[in-house]
Symmetry: C2
Subunit: 234 residues, 2 copies
Amino acid sequence: MTRKIADSGRGRSHAVHRALKRAILDQALSPGAKLPEDSIGERLGVSRTLVREALVRLSEEGLVDLRPNKGATVARPTLEEGRNLFLTRMALEHLVVETLSGKLTREQIDTLSAHIDAEDAARAEHAQSIRLAGEFHTLLAQMTNNASLIRYVNETVARSSLILALYGRPHSSECAVSEHRDLLDHLIAGKTGEAAKLMTHHLDSVTTRALLPKEDDRNIKDVLSAYAVAEGLV
Amino acid sequence: MTRKIADSGRGRSHAVHRALKRAILDQALSPGAKLPEDSIGERLGVSRTLVREALVRLSEEGLVDLRPNKGATVARPTLEEGRNLFLTRMALEHLVVETLSGKLTREQIDTLSAHIDAEDAARAEHAQSIRLAGEFHTLLAQMTNNASLIRYVNETVARSSLILALYGRPHSSECAVSEHRDLLDHLIAGKTGEAAKLMTHHLDSVTTRALLPKEDDRNIKDVLSAYAVAEGLV
DNA sequence: GCGCCGCCCTTTGCATGCAATTTGCAGGAA
DNA sequence: TTCCTGCAAATTGCATGCAAAGGGCGGCGC
């Protein structure tokens, strides 16, 4: 019954999917990077077929751009897509808060609390810190037991990482740890309104504080779109 | 330059995807139906590879269940998943309403109005009627220009159709046409609160009025889970 | 020198083939 | 009869092969 570690879940295509996703979220593969099927397959020891399957899934999640006959690249959302994404995310996480407020079990509270401690501890390591911050949100979502909600929160959180990679200010702490703790306190107390407001603020601050574009490496689409309109090229 | 009608979009795999999706939403393929790769491929004139790709996409959208080594079936959500789905959908459509309220252009208003007229006209044809009702919601989402929101609304609306197919009362008009018209009026007038309330009511009425299970063909998982717990089988 | 055109190489699009797993069924033992 | 066992057909998992589209580069014309 010894099963290879790599193929837990449904076959190796999922393993490939996870590997790529991880690489993207860790910014080992940065937005815009090319993702050729055969080099990936070679590196991971699988055929193009499986890589393809993984890429299709990633493109469905919005982490990868898949252009016909031109291959896959790590997604490079525009700034406006980023803002819209955070809007959507706020709507979803608002539901998470409503669902959970005043209904957390002792065990869940412990899990969340421990996680926040871990965030605190890892504050030095930038990459770790970002991932943990995201995981706090997915962890909350998980506790709703609402499958579609969980999926969408996972996706939006993942894509948010991409956005921050592209447009985030280098040294802003994207998710203040203290805000996570405050949020948890409100959730425990069942103060739904307060908790919701905090969540809104929490995410809003990311878009306004951390998301303002660094002028130099802005997405070319953003830069050109204004000129295109001016020239009537739409 | 004569391009086959079927392959607009990215290659034939998308055509397959659309065909299957359509078939599922039209209930030509009902929940639980097996979807063997080769018979589908044969019927549609493509190889298993492409069918596979389409099935992966459908499974990401939650319209198809993909079980390892056991193949694909049309998804058969449980009643609880259904209720949760509608919760998520409400959160998303609430954002749609907020975004659009008071901001509809003349052209958009005409489009929506025309659509509602079409719904009215098609009231006799049950299948048509259901599809049009769904399309009203996706049409609204489309107008937000928020890509992620659009995607999620599309998905939830599609899955809602599945839910209604499984658990909907036969003759309830799932989406009262008059409610659509009222909603539009409030959106035009910019009465955000009113519009949001109406949308909530609109969707809520589906879950409470139309969604109560017909005892006989309930999902076997639902039926058995209670017994499983009772027997300590979890 | 500069720019355009066409060729070649790389990479994708898709089909097919083979191994592995599952399911249905038949036959035999209790 | 009923249950178990093992074979066989059907179906999935995955790799590879071939055709075609795209992109880069060198040569040719201006």
